[in-house]
């Protein structure tokens, strides 16, 4: 093969590889990206079934209930509207998780509307919270 043809082949291969990768990426992004829902979004758009999403808002006051096993807990996440999401989480919650403060959870909705979280995102203090939670708190007006 002549050097010039080789260069052309290489270029084509490179373009195909990168385009292929981007197409592959886009198609798997469609079903793998976790969208963010506030309680009001769930009321408006309905609870998305069978896919991983993130929800966020404020942990409602006096809503945290611990189950008998000591590691499972239920709580309500609300926002500035009347909408709330029932959340169940099994695990150790991050240090700053408490009633009346912001939270972001990742997991799936069950058919009965319960959100089973497999991860509560760490929020170590005001400067290090997930951007979603920061946005939510802005809306509710509790961020100083």
């Amino acid at each position: 093969m002549k050097a010039k043809h080789q260069r052309l082949t290489l270029l084509l291969l490179a373009v195909v590889a990168v385009l292929g990768a981007v197409l592959l990426a886009m198609s798997s992004l469609k079903d793998q990206a976790a969208y963010f829902y506030a309680p009001a979004d769930v009321t408006r758009k309905g609870a998305p079934q069978a896919r991983t999403i993130r929800i966020g808002g404020m942990v409602e006051e006096r809503s945290v209930r611990h189950a008998g096993d000591g590691v499972t807990m239920d709580f309500l996440v609300g926002d500035e509207t009347d909408a709330v999401i029932r959340v169940r989480f099994k695990g150790i919650v991050p240090d700053l998780f408490k009633e009346g403060s912001g939270v972001v959870a990742q997991g799936r909705f069950q058919p009965d509307g319960l959100f089973v979280a497999d991860e509560i995102l760490a929020k170590h203090d005001e400067s290090y919270m997930p951007p979603e939670a920061a946005g939510e708190r802005h809306k509710t007006g509790s961020l100083k």
């Binding site: 050097a3 590889a17 990168v18 990768a21 981007v22 886009m26 963010f36 760490a122």
Partner: protein, 640 residues
């Protein structure tokens, strides 16, 4: 006074950088050869001044001079010495100053030691470096002055984020910055060669050590960062596909591709334009990395503070640099002559396949990292892209890449025959099949990814050491050892990842004092929970007596810590490392019935992940020393 001196030194270094750019650019015009020599001196002086500036900032932090705004905002007099020192770069301004300091020192090193390149190419390289430096100097001087005073000075500082109060902070950021800056030096070489139309093996040999240095430091930075996140965050995971982690992974991928293609250029004079392109891509990735981390666009431990003005500044810089680099490449690539041709079945062919696969993986990671930012900017909708996407899209390509990595070094340069290759890989191939059968019999329920990962790791490990087979090991060049060790490291790391993902055992319980809990082969007995205190924190500490079968029992003490300045809680995992894995313990909260939450993991072979990373870096070091020594000898022989 010290802060003012530092500020003046910073300004002087910035002015010298401007001088370096203009002097360099005019020296390249015909008839101005007399200007070539002073450019080197300017680069050395710039390196010295910016180092002085950085040393002064370190001194301000060590002395906790609270009249300096940056110190007051990020330090505290009661902090341990190491964290005062490392705290210098545990904040936005200080870390940007570290960035330019390393850049300045690298420029000084190039000016002082590089003797192989034609003088014109070297000067063009130094001018390109000054150009990169200028943007960051402007950023420091106009948008993030580290020496700003605070009047009146507060009585006490704010302290450092406790997550950062860890010995890892002393090493992790400088290591990654050395990597980023090393890539920018390699890029400057590429610009120099494009400007003087001097793309060829001599240039590739001058550029290679810098690519290697950058790559070694990026490897170390990623490995250390991964282990740090693993033990500090207390979630038992070692990689989260967090955008900030991707910001270090993308330059590493690009540097890995560049490292392999620059070898083809240096050894066989092939892949000329492709190597130039990769240098541009690698530099762009390290700029994107800096942008993602420093602009505050992502909120994480790494972004320190959200400041849109700074983000905009870095975005403009990013656009200028990447746009400029691509434009220069587009204008000049036509003048790069074609290199030597080669057969598809050859060492070069395998390296091209490696490059294409790495580029594809890089594309996938880049898309996944930027997609949420784009979607939010365009539609306001928030989403996150995590592990499922990256594993599904990049995983298969990565496994294929490991297979090629095993076979590639067994191919001859220029032209080879498939039949001969198959003969050379028969031992690794047989081992792979044996491993497949053995794993399927021992662990029937194993998933496809962990299975392929383990099997390929074993095959690739065998193939990696195959180039040493039947060779006189004492006469094998050091850089060949380097390649073997680095490839082996990748296989070791892959084995660790696969084993961790399938064999990990987890127990989550609420236990009363006196209870015993089982996890994997261990029995963990909760002896008690007590308060303890450190220099700037207090904690609740669990005493766990741990025993494996009938063996000797030992104590683990995970803590939930409360820091006083700034007030923050963190959990400190307690980890026991054994030859075959790690026991990882985290203490949670007390429930209403007086039980304590305990989260325990037994992670077999998990340490292989970081051991592999260390091997990869060690291989890089061997290759670097081997190459530099051979060049020295060649230079001596030329003189004699």
């Amino acid at each position: 006074m010290m802060a003012e001196t530092g500020f003046v030194a910073l300004w002087m270094a910035a002015s010298l950088s401007l001088l370096q750019l203009f002097l360099g650019a005019s020296a390249l015009r015909p008839g101005n050869e007399a200007l070539l020599r002073p450019v080197r001196a300017v680069a050395v002086a710039q390196g010295a001044l910016i180092s002085l500036s950085f040393l002064l900032l370190i001194q301000l932090f060590l002395a906790t001079d609270l009249s300096v705004k940056l110190v007051a905002a990020n330090s505290h007099s009661a902090k341990p010495w190491l964290y005062k020192f490392a705290g210098t770069w545990g904040n936005h301004e200080g870390s940007m100053l570290l960035w330019v300091t390393i850049l300045g020192l690298a420029g000084a090193a190039v000016a002082r030691f590089e003797r192989r390149l034609p003088e014109r190419t070297l000067v063009a390289t130094l001018a390109a470096q000054a150009m990169i430096g200028l943007g960051f100097y402007a950023f420091l001087l106009f948008a993030s002055n580290p020496f700003e005073r605070l009047d009146p000075a507060p009585l006490e500082g704010n302290g450092l984020n406790p997550l950062l109060q860890d010995p890892g902070l002393a090493f992790h950021p400088p290591t990654l910055y050395l990597g980023y800056v090393g890539i920018s030096v390699a890029f400057s070489f590429a610009v120099g060669a494009l400007v003087t139309r001097d793309v060829g093996p001599a240039f590739a040999r001058a550029m290679r050590p810098w690519v290697l240095v950058a790559w070694i430091f990026l490897t170390l930075g990623i490995t250390a960062g991964s282990y740090w996140a693993y033990y500090e965050l207390g979630w038992g995971g070692w990689w989260f596909w967090d955008p900030v982690e991707n910001a270090s992974l993308m330059p590493w991928l690009a540097a890995t591709a560049l490292l392999h293609s620059v070898t083809v250029l240096a050894t066989r004079d092939g892949l000329r334009a492709w190597t130039m392109m990769l240098a541009v891509v690698a530099f762009s990735m390290s700029m994107v990395g800096t942008f993602l981390v420093r602009s505050g666009i992502l909120t994480s431990v790494h972004s320190f503070a959200v400041d849109p003005a700074r983000g905009f500044f870095i975005l403009v810089l990013l656009g200028l640099y990447i746009g400029g680099a691509l434009t220069l490449f587009g204008l000049r690539v036509g003048t790069v002559r074609e290199g030597t041709a080669f057969d598809p079945v050859s060492r070069e062919g395998a390296l091209v396949a490696n490059n294409l696969l790495i580029s594809a993986i890089l594309g996938i990671v880049l898309v996944g990292t930027l997609y949420p930012l784009l979607v939010e900017a365009l539609s306001g909708e928030k989403l996150s892209v995590g592990l499922p996407y990256f594993n599904k899209a990049a995983g298969p390509l990565a496994l294929l890449l490991v297979a090629i990595m095993g076979a590639g070094p067994l191919l001859k340069w220029r032209r080879d025959r498939l039949r001969d290759l198959l003969r050379r890989v028969r031992v690794p191939a047989a081992l792979t099949i044996a491993a497949l059968v053995a794993i399927l019999m021992l662990a029937p329920g194993i998933g496809v990814f962990p299975l392929l990962g383990l099997v390929l790791a074993i095959g690739a490990a065998a193939a990696s050491v195959a180039p040493l087979w039947k060779r006189n090991l004492r006469r094998t060049p050091l850089f060949t050892w380097g390649m073997v060790i680095a490839h082996l490291g990748i296989a070791v790391s892959l084995a660790g990842m696969a084993a961790e993902s399938f064999f990990t055992k987890e127990t989550l319980v609420a236990a009363k004092v006196g209870e015993t809990v089982a996890v994997g082969p261990y029995d963990v007995h909760l002896m008690g929970v007590e308060p303890v205190a450190g220099p700037n924190w207090t904690a609740i500490e669990a005493r766990l007596s741990v025993r494996r079968g009938e063996g000797q029992s030992f104590i683990l003490a995970p803590q939930a810590r409360i820091f006083s300045s700034p007030p923050t809680e963190t959990s400190e995992a307690a980890i026991a490392t054994r030859l075959d894995g790690q026991l990882y313990t985290v203490l949670g909260r007390e429930d209403s019935e007086g039980r304590w939450q305990l989260r325990l993991w037994w992670k077999p072979m998990v340490t292989l992940i970081w051991l592999g990373g260390a091997l990869v870096a060690l291989g890089g070091l061997f290759a670097l020393i081997g190459r530099v020594r051979r060049e020295r000898r060649a230079a001596r022989e030329r003189e004699a």
